[in-house]
């Protein structure tokens, strides 16, 4: 979870205006956010290489946190398999803070809500995004 977001959140309306009706969209809900401060830093990947080895995400957003949950929507996605990782940058310093042992002290999460000790492999976190159907996923911050 060291990937920095490469894009800030684009308002949903702007995205909708640019939507290619042939492409897929994805609604994302992030729940169980511990404190109403900072940002959810969310990155989505389309390959095991990028997800597992800190590669470039296909989408990344920085979502201001004001309550226990936030939402995001990605449009213009090619259909396929994706996996998401996120962390709660509660103090807004742009990093996932860790303790002396290098273990996270800020919340984090993965799609499919998998991952027990550390980051799960892409295959566990991956989900299908299909064309012309509503796609949604809900991720619980841990």
């Amino acid at each position: 979870m060291t990937n920095r977001p490469t894009r800030v959140f684009i308002p949903v309306m702007a995205l909708l205006a640019a939507t290619n009706i042939e492409a897929a969209s994805l609604d994302i809900e992030v729940t169980a956010i511990e404190a109403p401060t900072g940002f959810i830093m969310l990155a989505m990947f389309d390959s095991a290489e990028a997800f597992n080895d800190g590669g470039k995400p296909v989408r990344a957003v920085k979502l201001p946190v004001e309550g226990e949950r936030v939402e995001a929507r990605f449009d213009d996605l090619p259909a396929g398999k994706y996996a998401i990782k996120l962390y709660h940058d509660a103090n807004g310093n742009g990093e996932m803070d860790s303790n002396m042992l290098g273990l996270p002290i800020e919340g984090y999460g993965f799609s499919n809500n998998v991952g027990r000790f550390g980051q799960p492999p892409f295959t566990d976190a991956a989900f299908e995004v299909a064309e012309e159907t509503p796609n949604s996923t809900s991720i619980r911050v841990r």
Partner: protein, 493 residues
């Protein structure tokens, strides 16, 4: 026996002639073979309202104060029972002692886990020794924090201690939980053992064991000054990821015992991830208090230690006393058996190698280690802290002499220099818990602790004369309330 005057019977069995009639095992007439399981019954209320105990004998003025105990008490929710004694949520038992009354009340520590699970009416997280299906993953070490192991009076409050994560602050009067103790961001959710030690200067020392860190594990050493701030820490890599529960301290050094109960990734739970690998032997680490980067490792024969007693320095050697097991059977077998209520569970109390009080001598010149067992079973060791690092006597729970000991049924005193043993043996069906030393003002010293009477289903408090255990208890108090057995406590005068 339990129909007779209890105090009298307790005093009687403590005298030698009665040793021959003491069964020592669960064979007395009328005792159910599974009576011991009362000690691991789950508590289904959040708190126990104040309840006075009936007292037999006289309470010495020195023990007027408060006895606190901590231990796993929430062992079941919604029909699901934990499998290992480490798993249960911690409940604090408070016994307020006045010259003529003892009143008990109790309350669970409101950890994040406990509060979430209370609201849900079911377990949401797997335990240290129990994997539960469809539970929430641990977010960090404190996700599974049950604050169930020990208590330290600290800054006018109590710290309810676990070992895998943070301490919890508790109001010593009301037992209300005041929050998690975060020393700093860097130390958030860090392992913090249940056995901090306070030195003669008032400095608090502790260790955190992170067997899962890196390839071969690490420990963190904490130094907390008298203002209550962590003023130094040291992260020390260990040669192998051996389980560590406590440590000891001499005049100038901290001494850590690492047995070859080794964390290997891939176990279904934290407890099941440990493997007994005696071929590795044990290691002792000696760290200078004044310079935590000054570290020295010693090799020792394999063994397993939960609890250390005192340590001191003499002519270039460190002499450390500890309760030494020959293997980790207590942790990886017995502590599962104690909680097993399944249909095919054995009725008999689990059998496993017991800890004997042992002296471990480290020669700082030659690097050699000599281990000498006292031959006496003793756990939950303690001594008179007023003496500094040396101990005239080490006290703990123990057993009446028996071929086949079951639960602790005696309080034992061992003179570590001469090896002389004294015991207070409790009557049948009494399980004895950790004795706490209370130094007296008039030359008399006392041991205070709790017991569980399986026959009457009563929990009680004992007071013993620390210098005359065989004389039997000077006071015994009991109540119509049976508490699950706990781990450790503290006494505040």
């Amino acid at each position: 026996m339990h129909r007779r005057n209890f105090l009298k019977s307790a005093a009687l069995v403590a005298s030698a002639p009665y040793l021959t009639v003491l069964p020592g095992v669960t064979t007395s007439a009328g005792e159910s073979p599974t009576a011991w399981k009362l000690g691991w019954r789950s508590v289904d209320v959040d708190s126990f309202a104040p309840l006075p105990l009936s007292i037999d004998g006289e309470i010495p003025a020195d023990v007027v104060g408060t006895l606190y105990r901590n231990g796993p008490a929430k062992l079941e929710r919604a029909g699901v029972r934990y499998k290992h004694w480490f798993d249960g949520d911690g409940m604090i038992q408070q016994f307020r002692i006045t010259p003529d009354s003892i009143v008990h009340q109790g309350k669970f520590v409101a950890t994040t886990k406990y509060v979430e699970e209370e609201a849900a009416g079911q377990f949401l997280y797997s335990g240290a020794g129990t994997e539960l299906p469809a539970t929430q993953g641990w977010r960090n070490n404190d996700s599974g924090n049950v604050a169930n192991t020990a208590l330290l009076p600290f800054d006018g409050e109590l710290l309810a201690l676990w070992e895998g994560g943070s301490a919890y602050r508790v109001d010593a009067d009301t037992l209300q939980t005041l929050g998690r103790k975060d020393w700093s961001d860097e130390l958030k959710h860090m392992p913090f053992s249940a056995h901090p030690l306070v030195d003669t200067e008032g400095t608090v020392w502790n260790v955190g064991s992170a067997t899962y860190s890196g390839g071969s594990g690490a420990i963190v050493v904490y130094r907390i000054d008298t203002a209550g701030e962590v003023v130094a820490t040291e992260l020390i890599k260990t040669p192998f990821a051996g389980y560590m529960h406590s440590f000891t301290m001499s005049e100038r050094h901290l001494i850590f015992y690492i047995g070859p109960h080794v964390f290997e990734r891939g176990g279904s739970t934290f407890v099941n991830s440990f493997q007994w690998q005696p071929d590795r032997g044990s290691r002792l680490l000696v760290v200078e208090k004044d310079d935590l980067s000054s570290q020295r490792w010693f090799e020792a024969p394999s063994g397993f230690v939960f609890h250390c007693a005192n340590a001191y320095e003499q002519r270039g050697r460190i002499i450390a006393n500890m309760s030494l097991y020959e293997d980790a059977g207590i942790m990886d077998t017995a502590m599962f058996g104690l909680l097993d209520t399944s249909a095919d569970a054995p009725t008999e109390y689990p059998q496993f190698p017991r800890a004997e009080l042992a002296t471990v001598e480290l020669d700082l010149t030659s690097g050699k280690v000599h281990v000498q067992s006292s031959g006496e079973l003793l756990e939950f060791p303690g001594s008179d802290a007023r003496l500094g690092y040396r101990a005239k006597a080490i006290f703990g729970t123990g057993h009446a002499p028996s071929e086949r000991p079951t639960y602790s049924n005696a309080v034992v005193r061992i003179d570590p220099t001469t090896g002389k043993v004294n015991r207070a043996i409790f009557p049948d069906e009494h399980i004895v818990e950790e004795p706490l030393f209370v130094g007296g003002s008039s030359g008399n010293d006392w041991l205070v602790g709790t017991f569980l009477d399986l026959g009457r289903e009563q929990t009680g408090v004992y007071v013993l004369d620390a210098n005359n255990l065989a004389g039997g208890p000077v006071a015994m108090a009991r109540m119509e309330r049976a508490l699950p057995l706990g781990f450790h406590g503290c006494f505040t005068g």
